[in-house]
Structure formats: C-alpha cells, structure tokens
Symmetry: C2
Subunit: 131 residues, 2 copies
DNA sequence: CTTGACCTTGCCATGATGGGAAGCCCTATG
DNA sequence: CATAGGGCTTCCCATCATGGCAAGGTCAAG
C-alpha cells in the first residue's frame, strides 16, 4: 500500500504521515526499491488511532504517550483515564477563555445600535478600556 | 517615551510592538538620533486598543479593520457591529468544536474504570473508531 | 513510448508570540 | 572620566500542525 492509499484509508494526509514519521511519532515505513513508502494494515490502524486522537484535540506530544500506553499490554487504565481527564481540563479552560471573550463581545454588541451613525460603544470600550 | 515604557503603559510587549510595526498594523514610530523608537500618548492609546481587541480574540488582520473604523469619523456603527458579530460567530464555532471534543472525551472517560487493569474503552475507541 | 498520476525530498508559509545573541547607547555611580 | 548595568537595535530561530509548491524520479495504462 502506497502512502496515498494509506492516507485515504486512515484519514491522515500523506504530508502528515511523512511528518509523523519525521518526528518519530510513527516508525519509519519500509521502502520499495524505488524508495516508495509501503504500509500494511497495522500501520493504517496506528494512523487512524492518531487521527482520532487529533480529532479529540490531543496534541501530538500527548498522542505519543497514548500510543505507548496502547502498545503496553500491562498498562493501567487509570493512566489512560488521567490523560483523558487532562485533555478535558485543557479543553475546558480554553472553552472558558473563549466563552468569556464571547460574552464580553455580546455585551458590547448589544449596546451598539448598529446604524448609520458613528457612535459605537464597542470602539469606545476598546479605546478606553472596560469600565 | 521609549519602547519599554510604551510596552508597560500599553500592556503590549516591546517585541510585539516592533512586530505590529513590521506588519504595518501601527505606523513606524519616529526615532531618536540613536535609532530608538519614540512613543507619545496617542500611540499608547492605539497600542492599548490593539491589546484589548486581542483580548477579545480578534485576529490581527481584523484589528486592522477595527482601527480603520476607529479612525474614520464618518463610520457607520453597523460596520463595527458586524465585525463584532463575525467575531462572536467565530468564537462560537470554535467553542462548539471544542465542546464536542470535550463531551466525546467525557463519555469515554466515564466508561473507563481507571484502575490497574489494562482494559480501557478510551483506547478501544481510538483504535476502532467511534461506534 | 508517451502520458498522467503518483511518489520523493526540500523549502516556504501560516499566526502570534517568545527567546537569544551581538552590538550600540544612555545614565548613574565611583 | 570611566565603567557597569540596563535598555535599545536588528536578525535569526522556535513554537504547532498543516498546506503548498517545485524539481525530479517512478509506475502503469494505452
């Protein structure tokens, strides 16, 4: 299986597969005589694992740990759960920060009549700071 | 006022002030004979404006537009309001995406007993995909 | 044998920010 | 007056994960 096919099968772009290889997240794929990377079903599984972990917002660095746990048959599920909780916490704090921005903006937008006149509490707030 | 003082007064780091100048977000500051940038109160105001807009999550590119509207005395507040609404929408969609990640993870974490045994629905999900 | 699709590597760009180095400048203190 | 320390300058590098492009090799089908 060539890299393009592996990309289609795993949902990870060929570019990213090469990148993951370059940073050591996945082992270097064997090559054909012409230098083409060759993938088998188990590699596809790993790539899909990575893809799904990325979809859950895990940074690549954490995925390394997740993969190590996955490979470790004597792992403790508590370790996996802790990683998940950490990720949940990270997401929560980002969400909270953005929620705060959104609410501040909503307040301002609500106060702005949004017509043809120049007066605008949004700009006033930006220029003089929150009251 | 030197750049360090301007940074302290505006809450924008000296590094960022130079960056904003380099990308044309703020006009080039006048220099002393020795080449030091010099800032006056009105520049500080602009920098503070930028700082607050960044705090509300506006990307620098949008701030350029906000600054233009601010300077334009014949602006329509509706234009400002539209930018604010766009930013609210952008924040909302990012929040929604992260919220979805968080909920998916919470489901998984809830199903993981988190003990010394290796069995873990989180890893199972990553490897075989959401059911 | 040609054509088109695919692969390779390598470089550049993103966005906003920080770090650091090399070197110049200013001020205060001894 | 000399020197030390802190501030300024520019320039380069790194982040994080991803995409794009270009030059060149490869493979398969017609």
């Amino acid at each position: 299986m060539n890299i393009g096919e592996a990309a289609r099968a795993s949902g990870v772009s060929a570019k990213m597969i090469r990148y993951y290889e370059s940073i050591g997240l996945v082992p270097a794929a064997p090559r054909t005589g012409a230098g083409y990377r060759v993938y088998s079903a188990s590699e596809i599984q790993v790539l899909r694992f990575i893809r799904r972990a990325r979809d859950l917002g895990f940074p690549v660095e954490r995925i390394e740990t997740l993969l190590a746990l996955w490979r470790d048959r004597s792992r403790h599920s508590s370790d996996v759960k802790r990683l998940a909780r950490d990720q949940i916490d990270a997401l929560e704090s980002k969400i909270a920060a953005m929620q705060a921005m959104k609410e501040a903006l909503e307040h301002l937008a609500q106060a702005c009549c949004g017509d043809d006149r120049p007066d605008c509490p949004i700009l006033s707030d930006l220029v003089q700071g929150p009251v």
